[in-house]
Symmetry: D2
Subunit: 254 residues, 4 copies
Amino acid sequence: MAASPPFYAVVVGVGSGTGASVARLFARRGYPVALLARKDANLTPVVDAVTAAGGTALGIPTDVSDPASLDAAFAAVAATWPGARLAAAVYNAEAGFAYKPFLELTPEDLDRALATGAKGLFHFAQRTIPQLLDAVPSEEGKEQQHPPTLIVTGATAALRGSARFATFAAGKFAQRALAQSLAREFGPRGVHVAYAIIDGVIDTPWGKDRVANDGKADGKISPDAIAESYWHLHTQPRSAFTHELDLRPFVEKF
Amino acid sequence: MAASPPFYAVVVGVGSGTGASVARLFARRGYPVALLARKDANLTPVVDAVTAAGGTALGIPTDVSDPASLDAAFAAVAATWPGARLAAAVYNAEAGFAYKPFLELTPEDLDRALATGAKGLFHFAQRTIPQLLDAVPSEEGKEQQHPPTLIVTGATAALRGSARFATFAAGKFAQRALAQSLAREFGPRGVHVAYAIIDGVIDTPWGKDRVANDGKADGKISPDAIAESYWHLHTQPRSAFTHELDLRPFVEKF
Amino acid sequence: MAASPPFYAVVVGVGSGTGASVARLFARRGYPVALLARKDANLTPVVDAVTAAGGTALGIPTDVSDPASLDAAFAAVAATWPGARLAAAVYNAEAGFAYKPFLELTPEDLDRALATGAKGLFHFAQRTIPQLLDAVPSEEGKEQQHPPTLIVTGATAALRGSARFATFAAGKFAQRALAQSLAREFGPRGVHVAYAIIDGVIDTPWGKDRVANDGKADGKISPDAIAESYWHLHTQPRSAFTHELDLRPFVEKF
Amino acid sequence: MAASPPFYAVVVGVGSGTGASVARLFARRGYPVALLARKDANLTPVVDAVTAAGGTALGIPTDVSDPASLDAAFAAVAATWPGARLAAAVYNAEAGFAYKPFLELTPEDLDRALATGAKGLFHFAQRTIPQLLDAVPSEEGKEQQHPPTLIVTGATAALRGSARFATFAAGKFAQRALAQSLAREFGPRGVHVAYAIIDGVIDTPWGKDRVANDGKADGKISPDAIAESYWHLHTQPRSAFTHELDLRPFVEKF
């Protein structure tokens, strides 16, 4: 029987390509990765890709807006990797968003945006922050280990409420508020909380038809590049934490 | 029987003192005012104060997080002042907020913050924006009338997610997102949407024991002063709309 | 010989129309107005307009980027209205700005932008802040008088460094920094410092050919409307100071 | 005679420790580094440290606020490494700043802040942007090379004009404006312009007596950690450029 790993990472959401890239990269850099997403069909190819590359992945179908579902997910993690401590948690949940005139938006559009943007992160953070606090190294051990990290995938709409983006922006603004509060409360206790403003269209295999920036080369964001920036955030020592950064294609207007 | 007034104003929330001051001022400047708040006990003294000063007020117990309750409120307005057009809508709903370490916050704390901050405004805007659009004057009439206005009472927590303010900030960030989206969508159609960042403690009769800024004179915000700024926003011509302003006591740190 | 007035206002800059409108309005509301601008030709019509409307104005050709020139201006004010205290100071200096690709900008473009945006305000504030502090009313007198006020005319470029606006934005960012610092230092001492983000083209008689927002009605900002907002800022009691607000035409994209 | 290197990096300023750390790291990762600073005494130890670690460094005493001095510096670089292209330019100039009540600040305090914050960057960018544009790889070569990068060291005062920081904030705000404008103009042409908000005290050997965050471990920012984040910025592919990030000690209030 294999020994349980000392650390693991957890990633929520694979809808945008970012989750899959982060899982692959963090696995390649040594962490077994628990992958949480609503649909098993989204999980399987990522688990397979991680495994094929020599990494370890555990896919757990989970509804992050449901606390009980999240609890079950972390129970499954604990059963699979008993005693493993949480090194990195990535909240990357995405729901399709309603791009509509305000008067055509429904209360359900708002509920969905708040559920994915804010409530899911709330539940996830309530379950991961205690684990991350447990993983904060002692003064002596701090050179051997990266500070435990919570990274949240934001969007332009976290900074700007554009016309026709009312509900999506509401969810993302709320999410950014939570991330800021968490950073201010738990940073001083050694947990690194970071918020990434993804400002552009992500380049996913299944989004090949979606044109951005007039189809210019590198006009969409490489999810692997996002993963590298997330890894960099994770490796920052506690004397130099980044809380917020933006990521956009060079040709993107901002 | 009295003729129905040509215009009216509606104010949601009297919890902070701001709603009562706005109602009194907008009534004094000529608008009959519909006042919506959860508890009849909060409405009665404000209705009485407006009436005693020679104004017209209609208090309607309403739960703004409940669309049906809001619909009933506007039906009551329409029955009382048939044909009156909406000149100004003020969203000033406040719920007590949870000031707690993040790990002690409950999902209900978040729900409450989002219900008051975001959902209530969403429902209120979906019902008032069409009325405000109806009240946009023709090119010829625009000198005789202030542009129809939606004003939302924000807070410091709309700009900053402080430690221990996670859920309150989530609600206020989401609210600010909605207000921005509304301004960008409906400003060009003649409706003025403004967001006021109230940065300080409001000076209410029932909050006399709450010390702010070491008890210095004018260390709390006068709700009447807020009302004057709201009136100024309402009177801005469409060539010079303010979307966002801050309001704070001179001694407040920022 | 006429008695000296108890208070006066001073306005720097008439290039954009805002200065002239502010002078007219503040004079109409009772303050004699000292008007400082580089060119006598710009001053004369404004002085005449104020006088024709029954107000009092004093035009003083001044180079605000030159401390000695500013000192001479305030000496002239003191000689004309001995003992008058400064109620309101408006910094509205504008220089034409260089709209060019960065590599075509000259060091002189940057110098000019910093001179008007930052240095002029620095010199002006060093001369007006002591006067404004002297005009802060006693606790008893504070109901009879508006708090002494310094208002600075900003621009979109104070918030955003757009391509081809490098030097103009540098000047306006620096200006906003100064205004913020002044607000934080002198607000608690009773001086109201406000910064207005003018986001759009100002509608001036001499700018009639300049098209904005496709020539739509009210697609440019009325300088009289700006003046009304400045007056509102001036009248805010110290319990509810606004530090920053934006002003834009309803059809302006933002 | 040694062959000229294909690429080089240039770093302005070693006053804060950041410049020295960046020079050492970028040299270790393969770039010869030109180091520009006012005083030879500051340059020598850094050049020695880079050389001792097997890297290549060229120290050039330079006054970046003087265009002629900068021109001479780049002429010296071209003479030393003929044909080498500029891979990374780091503007890290710092001047001591005036922490004083506004009314005690002198025009020279403002001039100095603007000279270091804004003018030096302006001159530096006018000389490095053309070189960085020349170094933009062709479509085919873009996988073999990091995008040419200009990184500017900012500070909290670039976002916030605090009391007693008026001139320093003016310089830093202006600097941020320039960095934004450059990013928006030259990003689409393949040059990565990034701005780092250094929010805290930097931990330098010569600043050991300066206490920050009550002397807590890692309460000051490690300049080596800043250098790692700058290197990460440099390595971001053009599909995912970060324009702005913050860096602060975990215990720093923000």
